[in-house]
Symmetry: C2
Subunit: 165 residues, 2 copies
Amino acid sequence: MLFRSLHSSKIQYLRRRCFSSATAPHVLKLGDVLRKTRIFTEEDVLQYSKVSHDSNPLHMDSAAAQNVGFDGPLVHGMLVASLFPNIISSHFPAAVYASQTLNFKLPVYIGDQVVGEVQVTNLRVNKNRYLAKFKTRCFKNGEILVIEGEALALLPTLDYRAVEV
Amino acid sequence: MLFRSLHSSKIQYLRRRCFSSATAPHVLKLGDVLRKTRIFTEEDVLQYSKVSHDSNPLHMDSAAAQNVGFDGPLVHGMLVASLFPNIISSHFPAAVYASQTLNFKLPVYIGDQVVGEVQVTNLRVNKNRYLAKFKTRCFKNGEILVIEGEALALLPTLDYRAVEV
């Protein structure tokens, strides 16, 4: 696994970073939920297409999307799913992402309000670091489940500061 | 599942697209492997950070990456993994991505040559479309496995033209 190659002795550097703020940290525990809300724009889809080299017409061409039954161009599933490592690393800088499963249940369209959510389902100490398992879900426009899966990440600490969503 | 909402009667539009080239199409079958090679640059990482809003210092800050045991800034795992839908949709425009599992085994650094590979492990007809299961892997610098997993995609046709990698 990726995290086995890490040098646990150096984790104090990251731990200090988290305590450098005057804000009292929270301590992550089983069941905790961290969220982030985002609305993906046409420009986001264009920029993601450029950086990923993904030119699937479903993301750029209304006619192509409508011809296979969608209402319009889709946001790339992997762009929506990027909310998960984003949420984890914004709460735990230098977290190492070890695995992710993704089931794309329903389309996300440009302009949909998407809430990404990670919920802690397992936590264990791993050589002064913490291996955290998360249930990962995205909802659109309220409670419509669009992506579900699980992630595993190696956290430098369980302490975090509340992050603006 | 996402693909259940598609209108199968409209798939002929996509089928015609694939036959519009003078190039003779290949027909996808069990065991087939499709590949793409890419070297991720510092600019790619910067652009991906912007569009994903992922500011994990492991991707931008050499000192932070080295402090947890890496050789330098990492390419985002989800950016590397974007090779999979990229390969699928570049061979099958308007393919619908239904699921993906990702195990991040080893880090990918800026400048590493990465080969993404998808191999067909199951194929079945689904209302005039094709549900394809792929073994998905990325290798760096030769045969070093960096990401492995599986993907499920709904293809409008099994015919494709060879795509430049």
